[in-house]
Amino acid sequence: MENIILTLIIFFPTLGALLLLIIPGDRKDSIKGITLIISFVTMILSFWLYAMFETHGLGMQMEVNIPWIESMGVGYHLGIDGISLLLIVLTTVLTLLAVLASWHSIHHNLKGYYFSILILMTGMIGVFCSLDLFLFYVFWEVMLIPMYFIIGIWGGVRRVYAAIKFVLFTMFGSLLMLVGILYLLYQYQAFSGEYTFDILKLYHTPLTFIEQMWLFAAFALAFAIKVPLFPFHTWLPDAHVEAPTAGSVILAGVLLKMGTYGFLRICFPMFPDATITFLPYISVLALIAIIYGALVAMVQKDVKSLVAFSSVSHMGFIMLGMFALNIQGLQGSVLQMLNHGISTGALFLMVGMIYERRHTRLISEFGGLAKVMPLFSTLFLIVTLSSIGLPLTNGFVGEFLILLGLFDANKVYAIIASSGVVLSACYMLWMFQRVVFGKITNPENEKLVDLTLREKLVMFPLIILIFWIGIYPKPFLEKIEPAANMVMKHMERASSVKFDEENSRLVIIDDSDAVLISTDYETIKK
């Protein structure tokens, strides 16, 4: 089982998609039903994977490595560590909920829509499982096409503009990545005599500092666009606003994580010296993203674009946590990837619910929903609080660990980033107040009905996860820990860092004598 489970999870949705093709397009219920079952089974498979995963195991698990295009050294190499495991589970859960959320909101060309969603699912899971750069690239691009259609066909008024912008941005990044991949391939061949796309082997490619810098830049740009890191973020608000609910949920919940995942899986271990060199610049961009995203979110008029800009801010936290290069920062970041998927996914789902009722997302159109939709308002409050990181919700654990780790690495960054915590309360609570509190001023809001059974079902798992991770994050953190340590160990071959095993962090060393730039505490100097 161990060697086919990943293949099964990746391609089960594809099978489902192919099955959809033979169903007549007018049998809407069958199409929806099949998609639901397929995504449900995939989710169960991912739970099984979770159960099979050995928590404290080092290295990759469930590995499969079959030669594919031997002349080029391309292999069908899959494998997961704790980081990919959690992201896979997040993907399957969010996809299932996205399918449920689309139930009544998609009216035309259902077949194409659900086909796209299932193919998208394969692409996403594939990216998280690939240990071969070729395969990684293929899945990376596979993901793009269905998303392009989902936004461009089933989206809002400016859907075509948004879809093209999304694709061009991402393509621009991934082409540079392709060049990087090829260069890496030849470099490895020059060193070992064999061609390989195997990520784990490529970790050992000897690269000069200048080469590392260029390659890092090529890969980092692709990933930074995905994250999105300021100033490469402008595709995001457009894509989010125009995409149908399911598109936004998957986009924010999973696709953005591919960027941060790429940094951890590829940039950090392959180009450690360049990572250290770029660290201050990327950190500053991430800091800008935190503050900038929060401030711009505050003045948005559309709930969806508010949530979109809040993503820019939250993803800034995740980037900073990774670049803290210590165990708290890394584990916090990975957990926060999960949290952001849950909270922002939930926010988009809930915005979708009121959009279906009112066909508007303008904040000013609402107000007083607490009166007519008490359950919606309560759940919306919980999700809002999780997004602003209130203790005992998931957001707190992630944010706290990121800031804790960051404080060890760089106090100034940590202090600036912490101010984002205040700002997030400002924009979220202000939005919440305008949507939920107050008197009903718009008569159309008076006849709104509270959540239906289907909508309750959609929200239920997310609410459980919000509290579970907030109160008892241990099972999740345990899974991340070995993987996060592994990332740092891979980076140790850089000339400029040492792995401090005792404190699980990377210490940046000067050529002359060992000085911790990470901190200047008396206690640590000892």
Partner: protein
């Protein structure tokens, strides 16, 4: 029984879950039974645990109970664990005791509200959070309670969410508190990365060995933690949310914004006394902010006309006293005042609630007057509380305030100026409180006929809590009588194990000129005399010759207006902080994001388009233009080669 510590916070949580998940489907009697019963049980348990703790040797009165590991990453470990020691024992008694009375009172006060079960669910959730805050055995769990009470405060201030002013006030409270929490967080980071733990007991024992006495790092850590306290306990400059918080139901103001939550900052400083004792400069800042706030808020309280707002500013001012006590290293005096204040201020708020209830929700004292005979029980209990807060000898407030005043004068970290400020504040307090009493309960009945005809004393569920609190407001201070009266200060002795670590690292701070018991007598008499004078003045101004107060108002109209508008601080914050941020955000969005970044991106697309368009023109398909271009090309090439 000590294995049941966890039940103290859990019981109200269960109450919250029952009332919260039932979604308004339970009858009112069940809702109130669940809500009051759960906190009542917590109270009984707290009393039992208090006596069990008392039965132990003073040095071994520390019980930790670990429930489960919460966050564990690398060297960072934090448990869900509770700590019962003399300090937290006092706090749980106050929280559950006063909290229980306020729950009972609410049964009557909220009986006609459609949000009845939501109200009690929030109230129980608050109690859970507050108990978590005071029982936490580490900084992070305390922070959980800390933000949890903030959330409940947000929900309860905005309880009547259809009122814009109410939801505004809730939001303001949350955001201002978040600014404080920002400091708390960073302070916590410094503590962790220096000490290697967030557990209070470990921090207390390790901190003196890793921090240099009076060093920059420890001073920064304490000041940052204090920023958290400033936010939660409404001190300058973050006090602005508390007066607005009066938008919430009055029992909420009594519980959250007087007796318990707002005192969390004082508790936090007392809990981390070792750190503060290591940083004398930070202590000095605490004392200065506390004293300044005490005076500043009292002056605003002098002229407010809304009965709850007077009490709100009074609370800010009294909290200032508590910080002053902590700042002069007299933590036990601070906690003592916290306790007595919980009694009399909760009573004042509940009394005000009873008045508002009787007056058909009128809060303006200018429309009250002569309520004494309509509301006899409310009046009597209110008067007792007023005497207590004014510091009339024998009542609880006298003992705690006197101790603070004396310590701020005599302790090594004190200063006569602190005493002078505290002394003036005491006079102002007596004045504005008696102004309130005279305007509300004495004199002409200024309400309209309809309201007048409906005046009634409140039901038993409301008056009984008032009477119990009145009793506490009288006797609550007897456990901490000063030594010069020949009594034993039980309160100080009880808490001394908690503060002994702090005293050990800074023995200097608490030294006092002990010989001066005559001085202590003198100062005590001075303050009592001032209070009596203030009461007499209030009597003259607001009862006997009301023309005096109008004349005064006209004569000092500038001062009066400034005070009435609360020194225009809210307006100042609006103009200097809030609006610039909004305009800056709009600038970022419209100019930076849309115009510059997106402009560049769309611009590059346009340029690409234009170039293609230009090149396309060459591909016109017309033979004649091809021929022309071809000929021109040949000519140019020929010219090029021929000139070479």
């Amino acid at each position: 029984m000590t294995e049941y510590i966890y039940l103290i916070p859990i019981l109200p949580l269960i109450g919250f879950l029952i009332n919260g998940l039932a979604l308004n489907r339970l009858p009112k009697s069940v809702v109130s039974a669940v809500a009051c019963g759960s906190i009542g049980l917590s109270f009984v348990l707290s009393v039992i645990l208090f006596f069990e703790l008392k039965a132990l040797e003073p040095s071994s009165r520390v019980i930790e109970q670990v429930l489960f590991p919460w966050i564990s990453v690398g060297s960072f470990h934090v448990n869900f664990a509770f700590l019962l020691d003399p300090l937290s024992a006092i706090m749980i008694l106050v929280v559950t005791g006063v909290g229980f009375l306020i729950h009972v009172y609410s049964v009557g006060y909220m009986s006609h509200d459609p949000g009845y079960s939501r109200y009690f669910a929030y109230l129980n959730l608050f109690t859970f959070s507050m108990l978590t805050l005071v029982l936490a055995d580490n900084f992070l769990l305390m922070f959980v309670g800390w933000e949890g009470v903030g959330l409940c405060s947000y929900l309860l201030i905005g309880f009547w969410f259809e009122k814009k002013s109410a939801s505004d006030a809730g939001k303001k409270a949350f955001i201002v508190n978040r600014i404080g929490d920002f400091g708390f967080l960073i302070g916590m980071f410094i503590v962790f990365w220096s000490v290697g733990s967030l557990n209070f007991n470990q921090v207390s024992s390790i901190a003196p060995t890793v921090f240099a006495f009076g060093g920059t790092l420890i001073t920064a850590a304490c000041l940052l933690l204090f920023v958290g306290a400033i936010g939660k306990s409404a001190q300058i400059p973050l006090y602005v949310w508390l007066p607005d918080a009066m938008e919430g139901p009055t029992p909420v103001s009594a519980l959250i914004h007087a007796a318990t939550m707002v005192t969390a900052g004082v508790y936090m400083i007392a809990r981390t006394n070792v750190l503060f004792m290591l940083a004398p400069d930070a202590l000095m800042v605490v004392a200065v902010i506390g004293a300044a706030t005490a005076l500043f808020a009292a002056t605003i309280g002098l002229v407010q006309n809304d009965i709850k707002r007077v009490l709100a500013y009074s609370t800010v001012s009294q909290l200032g006293y508590m910080f002053l006590a902590c700042g002069v290293a007299s933590f036990s005096a601070g906690i003592f005042h916290l306790m007595t204040h919980a009694f009399f201020k909760a009573l004042l708020f509940l009394g005000a609630g009873s008045v508002i209830h009787a007056m058909s929700n009128e809060q303006d004292m200018r429309k009250m007057g002569g309520l004494k005979k309509h509301l006899p029980i409310t009046f009597m209990t209110f008067l007792i509380a007023t005497l207590a807060i004014s510091g009339i000898p024998g009542l609880s407030g006298f003992f705690s305030k006197d101790e603070i005043l004396w310590k701020s004068f005599s302790s090594q970290s004190g200063h006569p100026i602190f005493w002078v400020i505290g002394f003036i504040t005491a006079g102002l307090t007596a004045f504005y409180m008696f102004r309130l009493v005279y305007m509300t309960f004495y004199g002409q009945e200024r309400m309209d006929e309809k309201t007048k005809s409906q005046l009634h004393e409140s039901p038993k569920s409301m008056t009984i809590p008032l009477m119990v609190l009145a009793l506490l407001a009288v006797v609550g201070g007897w456990v901490g009588m000063p030594h010069i009266l020949g009594a034993t200060n039980y309160f100080e002795d009880w808490l001394s194990p908690v503060f002994s670590h702090g005293e050990a690292v800074n023995t200097h701070a608490l030294l006092s000129s002990t010989a001066d018991s005559s001085m202590e007598w003198l100062l005590m008499f001075a303050s009592v005399a001032l209070v009596l004078v203030a009461i007499y003045l209030a009597y003259n101004f607001y009862l006997k010759k009301t023309s005096l107060s109008t004349a005064m108002k006209e004569k000092l109209s500038g001062v009066h207006k400034t005070l009435l508008n609360k020194y225009y601080v809210d307006e100042f914050y609006g103009a200097v902080i809030v609006r610039p941020i909004i305009y800056f955000s709009l600038f970022l969005w419209k100019i930076v994001d849309v115009l510059i970044i997106d402009g560049l991106i769309n611009g590059s697309a346009t340029v690409y388009n234009d170039i293609s368009e230009f090149l396309r023109q060459g591909q016109s398909g017309r033979v004649r233009s091809y021929a022309t271009i071809f000929t021109l090309g040949v000519v140019v090439l020929l010219a090029f080669f021929m000139t070479d």
